[in-house]
């Protein structure tokens, strides 16, 4: 190396400008497709943030029991429809979060139970407190929760988002609801991905009569209004099915319609790629069809599939929420955002206890985040475009 520096120095000075300009270009030209996509995706700040938001939501789903502080299924008539209660962070200038204790009274005129904070009674909050028992990640039993109160039960003291009609804590139920709401979308999308890739692939690969048939089926399915159909199918589920059975039935119902979009994407990519020179080159080189598909075609449209899948997810989540909201989807004791929103069906109830609407917020945030993420992925999916 020391030998050649003199030579290289002279060489460099002469081609100084050329080498500066090509350094960046060279980095681009030797990068793999996934690197290019990553660089391009990184520029989408909104998509990046959305990706993190979604990751955070799934983390919540994993640790839902830990983040909850009250048993989500425990009902208590005395704690019906308590309003969300503010947390005070500073006590006499020191950081020591506390809430006021609540006193239940009966309104002398309406005979309804009302709850009023009692300024005399400060209940200190603490981290990693003990509460109801659960299995962390389904692995080991514990009763530690992120927040709780010293001594006493958290159920009786903390009401971050208030309670529902049956006195169940809304915050805790929202945490638990993440699980079903977020995974039912994933399961549904996975199922429709399988259907979509299979049928779309066949359609795009073989063309001809099979293609026409599958395309007609897709067109027919897409021109049928989905919600009435779902409602019909969902209503036909036997009443005595358990949570798990209903969960899978809903997944199947959602993906029965959802696969068409993905199938169209896959077919479109197949048709486009079939005409590409590199596929022809591989064919002329005598590469087997299976290898052409797996080695040459799939890598160049995998990214499109990922983007399309991401964009299909929010629709699944909306659909589940809608069905459960109508009472035709997941049913109590299952907890999902749609199930939580069922309580908000009656406008009189909502007018008096607006906090029942709070399950709408995670729905909106997750759908937005998936849309932004999907958009960013779709833009990045075409790194050469």
């Amino acid at each position: 190396m020391t030998q050649s520096t003199g030579e290289r120095g002279a060489f460099d000075s002469q081609f100084d400008h050329a080498s500066i300009t090509t350094a960046a270009e060279e980095r681009v030209s030797v990068a793999t497709q996934w690197q290019l996509m990553w660089w391009r995706f990184r520029k989408h700040r909104l998509a990046m943030i959305s990706g993190m938001v979604i990751a955070a939501f799934y983390l919540v789903a994993l640790g839902a029991d830990f983040l909850a502080y009250a048993d989500p299924h425990k009902t208590e008539a005395f704690r019906s429809l308590i309003a969300p209660q503010p947390v005070h962070f500073f006590d006499e200038g020191r950081f020591r979060p506390y809430v006021f204790g609540l006193v239940g009274k009966r309104d002398p005129r309406t005979f309804k139970r009302v709850y009023e904070p009692d300024p005399e009674q400060k209940i200190a909050l603490r981290l990693f407190a003990e509460g109801y028992e659960y299995k962390f990640l389904g692995l080991f039993k514990t009763n530690r929760h992120l927040i709780g109160v010293d001594g006493g039960a958290a159920e009786e003291a903390i009401f971050l988002l208030g309670t529902d009609q049956l006195g169940r804590d809304l915050w805790s139920r929202m945490m638990i609801a993440c699980r079903l709401s977020l995974t039912i979308g994933l399961a549904g999308v996975t199922l429709s991905l399988v259907l979509g890739v299979l049928l779309g692939g066949i359609s795009g690969l073989y063309g001809g009569a099979i293609d026409t048939l599958i395309q007609r089926v897709i067109e027919i399915l897409r021109s049928i209004p989905t919600i009435p159909l779902w409602m019909g199918l969902a209503a036909a589920m036997p009443r005595d099915w358990g949570v798990v059975q209903v969960y899978f039935a809903i997944t199947v119902i959602l993906s029965l319609i959802g696969w068409t979009d993905l199938a169209r994407v896959v077919r479109g990519r197949f048709l486009a790629l079939r005409e590409e020179d590199f596929v022809l080159a591989a064919e002329l080189a005598g590469v087997s069809q299976m290898r052409i598909i797996l080695r040459h075609m799939v890598p160049s449209f995998l990214s499109h599939i990922i983007a399309a899948t991401t964009l299909a997810l929010p629709n699944m989540i909306i659909s589940e929420t809608a069905l459960s909201f109508l009472g035709l989807g997941l049913r109590p004791p299952a907890v999902s955002w749609g199930v939580l929103l069922q309580d908000a069906q009656n406008i009189q109830t909502v007018a008096i206890s607006p906090w029942l609407l709070s399950a709408a917020l995670p729905v909106i945030v997750v759908i937005l985040a998936f849309n932004f993420l999907g958009d960013g992925l779709r833009d990045a999916a075409d790194p050469y475009g």
Binding site: R216, E219, I220, R222, S223, I224, P225, T226, I227, P228, L229, M231, G232, L233, A234, A235, A236, P238, P314, I318, T321, A322, F325, L326, G327, L328, L341, A344, Q345, I347, V350, A351, P354, L357, A360, V363, I364, V365, I367, L368, N371, F372
Partner: protein, 330 residues
Amino acid sequence: MLTYIIRRFLLALLTIWAISVLAFAIIQLPPGDYVTAYIAQLASSGVDVTPEFAENLRQQYGLDSPIWVQYLKWMEQISRGNFGRSLEWRAPVLDMIGDRLWLTMAVSVSAVLFTWGLALPIGIYSAVRQYSIADYIFTFIGFIGLAVPSFLLALILLYLGFRYFDANIGGLFSPEYQMADWSLGKLWDLIKHLPLPAIILGMAGTAQLIRIMRANLLDELRKPYVITARAKGMSEFRLILKYPVRAALNPFVSTLGYLFPFIISGSIIVALVLSLPTIGPLLLRSLVAQDMFLAGTIVLFLGIMTVLGTFISDILLMWVDPRIRFERRE
């Protein structure tokens, strides 16, 4: 051109057939059959049911024959205008549906019109003035429209109306017209009540169409023919409307076929929240009560309505795109 229409028409017929099969499946899915349920109902209301009567009923509905024969019998009954009886309401299904079908149509069509009327100009503006403040605002509103499912939007608006204006924004008629017969006054009352459900239903579609229009138009604005037109000395306004907007209209129109089923779908659940006297709440009730002839018929009608809407949008697309008129496919 003619072959295009014929092809579309045949596809529409095929779709209607597929929907009829699905509707029939929905009627058949719940355990037990119609006659058992009907007899149980009669018995509970104190009518003495003889086994012969039950057997007659069974034969009339062909419940003892194979499933495809039952389907054909059902179709035959339908073609004669007999859609069966609603178990829960003890009335012919058609009487139950009545006006609700037309009101559903009115709400859906006005939602489509709203979607178009808003998405077109906003999409054009957003593309032509890309990255302007208004573009950002529209994009933001668009994303909200996309992310808030229509029934949640309805719920939130209902709450806001209740809370801050002390008004019930639901329903399609003022109380005094609710039970009244049709008259000009009732029609006007309906028209006054239509915008809100139309906006709620159209929000998501509008957001989507704005994005489609904006993206298409941005593509078109970069095409050489725009520079050609500019080099002719055309004014910018006329130029944009005549050339790129015209081109961007095609994918825009072709989305109508999917917009319509989408809106009808949404109208079911929004109608429930806003308590509209449309077909949605009836469908839900019939499903919950397993009143299957009513439910199946409603699904069938909704499907046919959707197919008609899609067919009309296909014809519209043909009118817009000269390449389809010339039967050239891409």
